[in-house]
């Protein structure tokens, strides 16, 4: 493993200033619950505003609605959005994963059809991976697409699909041929661009423990896909899906999820001083600084075209521990009666969200398995 800190991109300060002015204005309407959910919050109007300012699809070619800026400038935008607790969920997946996948492996038609809409903040994506019998053991998935005249027929079921009920498209990983006897279970999987308005798709929201409808069960019943809804190569779905993981796992969304509480917590502690609080606060700030360095390092490596898959797993693992511990540290310092209502509401919302941090995008156990393999233990 190797982490090299990148240089700050030129113009970063001006970009941050622009973002902060925008977020200060937009943020007036955000309740503590919205800030707590951040990239798990879906707000199409906000995403359109962000798109209009050129902050989605920033690195993509202008021909596809992008803005041809650097990956590190994009990181500046992500950091500022998350530090402010902005509800970026409606464009987050398209910007982070689906758009880059289509740009890299999609057909020209797919690029022209899809990318400009993502960049405008108008097209929302969800990721169809987990199934009832395929969670961490993703290769066990059973949803299948069969070749039929003119395209593919899709049957099966995806589950825990975040924002499927609000999204326009799903990138689904499904089986297009049986896993070869005695061969790799990862063979025979393909990715499809699925328009969620197609007939035969039913989406059932699953209420989460906080009472929110954020994830879903999606059932495909003889859904007809066109020939060119296949993304990339038939049978290469596993390699395609896992090649994006360094982007998915290394960003600021893997350590900043609880940040808004730290910011509010500092003010609450200034009003109600707690002896020794500075030590706990200092430990959190030091971790935050180190994690930011780790995440930026991976961002720099991605920008140079490297594949820092293990480094990304390390960012997510260390980052998840931090963002899960943060609300508990504050809880250890401030009793509810000493906390302002806004902080109480934020912590209440975060407390109910924190279990997801080390589940979404690869569980802690899977990540540590990847790290262990790199160490030479597996």
């Amino acid at each position: 493993m190797r982490f090299d800190l990148p240089d700050t991109p030129p113009g970063a300060e001006a970009l941050r200033a622009e973002l902060r002015a925008f977020l200060a204005e937009a943020g007036r309407a955000w309740t503590p619950e919205i800030r707590a959910r951040s990239w798990m919050g879906f707000d199409r109007d906000f995403s359109r505003e962000v798109g209009a300012r050129g902050w989605i699809g920033m690195t993509w070619p202008k021909a596809y609605g992008g803005h041809e800026r650097s990956g590190l400038e994009r990181v500046v935008v992500l950091e500022e959005m998350l530090a402010a607790g902005a509800p970026v969920g409606a464009h987050w997946i398209g910007d982070r994963q689906s758009g880059p996948l289509i740009l890299r492996l999609g057909t020209e038609e797919q690029r022209r059809r899809i990318l400009p809409g993502i960049a405008r903040g108008e097209l929302a994506f969800c990721i169809g991976l987990s199934e009832p019998d395929a969670g961490s053991d993703l290769a066990n998935l059973r949803t299948k697409a069969e070749r039929v005249p003119g395209g593919w027929k899709l049957n099966g079921r995806k589950i825990w699909t975040t924002f499927a009920h609000k999204s326009d498209y799903m990138i689904a990983l499904v089986r297009t041929s049986p896993a070869p006897e005695g061969g790799s279970r990862h063979a025979g999987l393909s990715q499809f661009l699925v328009d969620l308005r197609l007939s035969g798709i039913s989406i059932r929201p699953i209420r989460d423990l906080a009472g929110a409808d954020s994830f879903n069960e999606v059932t495909f019943d003889d859904v007809m896909l066109r020939e060119d809804d296949l993304v990339g190569a038939e049978g290469a779905g596993w390699a395609q899906a896992t090649s994006e993981l360094a982007f998915e796992r290394s960003g600021p969304d893997r350590y900043l999820s609880s940040y808004p509480a730290l910011s509010l917590g500092l003010d609450a502690l200034a009003t109600n001083p707690v002896p020794g609080a500075e030590v706990t606060v200092g430990r959190m700030v030091a971790r935050l600084s180190a994690l930011r360095g780790m995440s930026l390092s991976v961002g720099g490596m991605l920008e140079r075209g490297e594949d820092p898959a293990v480094e990304a797993a390390l960012v997510k693992d260390v980052g998840n521990v931090f963002e899960q511990a943060l609300p508990e540290h504050l809880r250890g310092l401030l009793d509810p009666e000493d906390s302002p209502a806004e902080l109480r509401a934020l912590l209440a919302a975060l407390t109910q969200l924190t279990p997801t941090f080390s589940l979404r995008g690869g569980t802690r156990e899977i990540l540590r398995g990847i790290i262990a393999r790199d160490l030479g233990l597996r």
Partner: protein, 327 residues
């Protein structure tokens, strides 16, 4: 990593590794000084590494130096070369000629003080050099010499520039110990992985058990965090000078202290009984990790400083302050 830094790291690594594994550590702990290793490193001009070229030094960056300190830490830092580099950098910055030989930092609990001909003291911005007259020997739990010195009146003096500031010694030492912790953690992680792949129980290497894999993976995360925190701190010194890099150095020492605690515990858990025997090499590194947590300011002390500042600045400034420090 720059090409120059890579070459230097390789050279120093070879010199220290060739000195015989943990043999020099056992020598130090038995009260001897690994003179041959010290001489070998001195011949490379390492002591003057941080002194600018125009002042007769090598003109390395603090980033380069931190990479070298990590290598020294990886081998248990059997000689006080990191301290000599810092001392020389400060003397040179204050316009004082750098003497040959082992240089002690401070007067109380001075690392390897009994082996030093001279000691550096800092009072405000005033840096003084003193011949060492006597040493009352002491040791940390790494059994490294930490001696209270009797110093002769100053033989030379100078004023440190503002970029170094009155806390230059403490800041420099904190960065050194954080870097050494990063190196020593890397070492014990490698040792533990190797052991986990070798030691068999229940018919297979213990590293095949997920319980062991998960612990070592978590440790790898801490090792990565310290390395990044140290790089960030060294880069801040290169960009703004020691005096203005207190935040990053403090962060590095906090993360290093926490990671040392976790890493030493994890390595011992993986090694089990063999790891706590006198004959085994692990304790030479874990005892140093525990000792280095305490030197140059504990993680608690640095966290308090960082936390106080953050509380005084308020929640709205925390993120902007953090990003404003980007080099």
């Amino acid at each position: 990593m720059s090409e120059l830094r890579g070459i230097l790291v390789e050279q120093v690594e070879r010199l220290v590794a060739d000195a015989g594994g943990v043999a020099p550590l056992r020598e130090v702990e038995a009260g001897q000084f690994p003179q041959a290793l010290w001489d070998g490193l001195s011949e490379q001009g390492l002591a003057l590494a941080l002194v600018p070229e125009e002042a007769g030094g090598v003109g390395l960056s603090w980033g380069d130096a931190a990479a070298l300190w990590q290598v020294l830490g990886k081998h248990g830092a059997p000689v006080p070369m990191a301290e000599a580099m810092l001392g020389a950098a400060l003397l040179s910055a204050a316009g004082v000629e750098v003497p040959d030989g082992v240089l002690a930092l401070g007067e109380k609990g001075a690392p390897f003080g009994r082996h030093a001909a001279n000691a550096v003291k800092l009072d405000g911005a005033r840096l003084t050099l003193h011949p060492v007259e006597g040493a009352n020997p002491g040791a940390n739990i790494g059994r490294e010499p930490r001696d209270d010195l009797t110093l002769a009146p100053r033989s030379a003096a100078g004023i440190l520039p503002n970029s170094h500031g009155p806390r230059a010694l403490r800041l420099g030492l904190a960065l050194i110990r954080a870097a050494q912790i990063a190196g020593a953690l890397e070492r014990i992680l490698a040792l533990a992985v190797d052991w986990a792949n070798t030691r068999k129980q229940f018919g297979r290497p213990i590293g095949k058990f997920q319980a062991v894999q998960q612990q070592l993976a978590a440790m790898a995360g801490e090792v990565a965090a310290v390395q990044v925190a140290v790089s960030n701190a060294a880069r801040a010194v290169d960009a703004r000078g020691l005096a203005e890099a207190g935040f990053e150095i403090g962060c590095a020492k906090v993360v290093a202290g926490e990671a040392a605690t976790f890493g030493a515990a994890t390595a011992h858990q993986v090694f089990a009984a063999i790891g706590i025997t006198e004959d085994h090499e692990l304790h030479h590194f874990t005892r140093r990790l525990w000792a280095w947590r305490e030197e140059g300011g504990t993680d608690r002390a640095w966290a308090a400083e960082i936390g106080k500042l953050a509380l005084a600045r308020g929640g709205a400034n925390l993120w902007p302050d953090l990003t404003a420090r980007d080099a």
